[in-house]
């Protein structure tokens, strides 16, 4: 194994982590502020991917598609919040899971109705299409590097928003005490809609970014949603900082596990079964990690309050 290969795999883990963060940040905010489990977050990811693909093909510009995906997923999020989610805040988690799962099914079939069953075409913009040479002779896809940069910028921006703005103060106050903040005269309904739309926009942004290197198809959001839930459980529910750190940990552990485990195991068993077993264990690794974290810190690494 060379240094270049190892570094490239670390970068891959970081890129996966940053992408997971965009999903997990919205999920953890919505859970932290509104106490809502939102299974339909993966559908907003899908909306981002489809709108970006459709607008990019129609206009010929990936960037226009990306902007449209932000607007469309935020709008879809706000609409869903006002029409459905608003009625769920006082219900228990099982009702929320049922209702948001119904939303998943409705989003999937509506998307199929509008766009058809075949996957859509979406490729990275030409200026980011090839590899770039990094120091140390590492050829790395420019687009993945751009995802890392974009994700870190969003993380920074989100940190500023939460910690340095009036909206951020309200969001943090909403997390700490819902009744008190409405007693102080803040329109909690609008705040909830804004938080939900913000989370939706982040998910849609992730869907559009990832759609360019993966397949834009119905159901693309659900596998990512599961990983994002793992992230927020490890990071501590409601914590943006926890989500960022846990995302990177999950991304790197997942990528390096897939990469290294089959080789490590081949010292213990024959090559063919080491390949199969290694791959199987690697796909369980982050869940094992989640279980270990929960044993040591039952509320996650960085619990939001208390």
């Amino acid at each position: 194994m060379t240094f270049a290969l190892f570094t490239e795999q670390i970068l891959n883990g970081l890129q996966l982590g940053v992408m997971l963060f965009l999903m997990a940040a919205g999920l953890t905010l919505i859970f932290g502020v509104m106490g809502l489990i939102n299974l339909a977050h993966g559908s907003l990811f899908m909306v981002g991917g489809f709108v970006c693909a459709a607008v990019a093909v129609w206009s010929g510009s990936f960037w226009l598609g990306l902007a449209a995906s932000l607007v469309a997923s935020a709008a879809a999020g706000a609409l869903v919040e006002i029409a459905v989610i608003r009625r769920l805040y006082d219900r228990d988690h099982l009702d929320q899971v049922l209702a948001t799962f119904a939303l998943v099914l409705m989003f999937s079939e509506a998307t199929r109705f509008v766009f058809g069953s075949s996957p859509l075409y979406l490729n990275p913009p030409a200026m980011l299409s090839g590899p770039v040479m990094l120091p140390g002779g590492i050829a790395y896809p420019a687009y993945r590097l751009a995802i890392i940069v974009a994700g870190l910028l969003v993380a920074g921006g989100l940190g500023l928003l939460i910690n340095r703005t009036r909206l951020g103060v309200r969001i943090r106050a909403g997390e700490a005490d819902r009744e008190m903040i409405s007693a102080l005269g803040i329109d909690i309904r609008t705040l909830y809609t804004i938080v939900f739309a913000l989370g939706a926009a982040l998910a849609g942004f992730a869907g559009a970014l990832v759609g360019a290197i993966q397949s834009v198809e119905v159901g693309m959001g659900e596998p990512v949603l599961i990983l994002a839930f793992v992230v927020i459980v490890i990071g501590g529910i409601g914590s943006i900082r926890g989500a960022l750190i846990a995302s990177v940990i999950v991304g790197v552990v997942d990528t390096m596990g897939r990469f290294l485990l089959p080789d490590l195991l081949s010292g213990m068993m024959d090559a063919a079964s080491a390949r199969g077993t290694g791959a199987a264990i690697a796909s369980m690794l982050i869940y094992v990690l989640m279980a270990l974290v929960l044993i040591v810190k039952p509320r996650g690494l960085f619990p939001a309050h208390g």
């Binding site: 075949s118 996957p119 490729n123 590899p131 290197i213 198809e217 990469f259």
Partner: protein, 380 residues
């Protein structure tokens, strides 16, 4: 004079017999995937099948189409319903091997015929074969075997091979290695449904291989090819047709151009049945057919050819008529081996762009009159 009358009477009686064979209607239950991520495969299978039924003009086939949503438990329920309440004679249409394994053994044990439009797992080709089961598509290993054979002729000395970690993925790599004679530098099992292949691509870049064989059906293949092109690795790719069907290629775009893939069918196969099929399919559905559509079309034509010779109530006679495979296949040559799996040619195709449409053209024949590795274990 008398002789003529007898002859005429014989002909009339014979014709009446023929007519009764014709008039014996057949009820077909089609279970296929019409919703979810794999829907385009099932939709093409159905459309190909129904096109052949429509072209034949027969009123004697009734097709009941059901959507399995790619869920084995749902497929089993649908099969029970079709057999017990609709009383179908023939089942067909399943795309995925895990669904086929859930439905086929019990359906054929209940005396129903099963004609496979796609899935053909090894378990049903060897010791588990059945007189009522016919694969009109291929045996699952076939396209991978052909890819191994093609890697030899293309002069690939060191290949990197990759498939999802599930039974069909393991069969795929085993099939490739059955015929490939060079060195396998690395063998990787990816997670089923994985969409990110950055790690695998980094390993391909570092492996020093001169060829990559991959079996990643559906969205997995789309993701892999886009990311592979973006990574700037120039090791040539080869795979089975599943990652290169007409619906997938449009989503991959330029990243797929020039990639070689093995297939039993291609839209440019030079025979009259295929030309007619491609033209009729485009006229009917306003899109190019995929391999799944071609296999669905052949399956319906096989059924229609058997109905002309025997009544479906005459089980032994109908089976003999199916075994004869006396229909004009869009694949040109087509016959059944002793385990009811095809003996056919397998081609190498290259992805090309025709106008705005990405499609395949045949560049070589990988294997001629190829059967499968399991036929010897089949005792029928």
């Amino acid at each position: 004079m008398k002789n003529t009358v007898i002859a005429a009477a014989t002909i009339a009686a014979f014709a009446a017999g023929m007519a009764s064979a014709h008039a014996d209607p057949v009820k077909v239950g089609m279970i296929t995937t019409l919703s979810g991520g794999g829907a385009s495969l099932g939709i093409d299978s159905r459309d190909g099948f129904l096109l052949a039924v429509k072209q034949s003009g027969t009123k004697d086939i009734e097709v009941i189409v059901e959507d399995d949503a790619q869920k084995p438990d749902l497929a089993v329920q649908l099969a029970d319903k079709l057999i017990q309440s609709d009383k179908v004679d023939v089942l067909t249409g399943i795309v995925w091997s895990n669904l086929a394994m859930a439905v086929v053994p019990s359906a054929v044990a209940q005396g129903k015929l099963y004609l496979s439009t796609n899935a053909a797992p090894s378990q049903l080709a060897g010791a588990g074969c059945n007189a009522n089961y016919y694969s009109v598509s291929y045996q699952n290993d076939n396209l991978h075997e052909a890819a191994g054979e093609y890697a030899n002729t293309a002069g690939m000395k060191k290949v990197f091979i990759m498939a999802p970690n599930y039974p069909a993925g393991k069969d795929s790599l085993a099939g490739f290695k059955r015929f490939y004679k060079g060195e396998v530098v690395s063998e990787i099992y990816t997670e089923l449904g994985a969409k990110d292949y950055a790690g695998e691509i980094a390993q391909i870049r570092a492996s020093g291989a001169d060829g990559v064989f991959f079996f990643l059906p559906g969205g997995m293949g789309i993701s892999f090819m886009k990311q592979y092109a973006g990574a700037g690795v120039d090791v040539p790719l080869i795979g089975p047709a599943f990652s290169f069907d007409q619906n997938i290629l449009q989503a991959v775009g330029d990243a797929a151009l020039g990639v070689k893939n093995t297939s039993t069918w291609s839209k440019d196969l030079d025979n009259q049945a295929n030309k007619d099929f491609v033209a009729a399919y485009q006229a009917e559905y306003n899109r190019l057919p995929s391999i799944y559509a071609a296999q669905g079309y052949d399956t319906a034509n096989l059924l229609i050819s058997a109905m002309a010779k025997a009544a479906v109530s005459d089980q032994a006679g109908f089976r003999t008529a199916l075994e004869a495979a006396n229909f004009k296949s869009v694949r040109g040559k087509f016959s059944f081996g002793p385990n009811h799996h095809p003996i056919q040619d397998i081609y190498v195709r290259e992805v090309v762009k025709e106008g705005d449409i990405y499609t395949n053209k045949i560049v070589a024949t990988a294997m001629t009159d190829h059967a499968d590795a399991y036929a010897a274990d089949c005792k029928m």
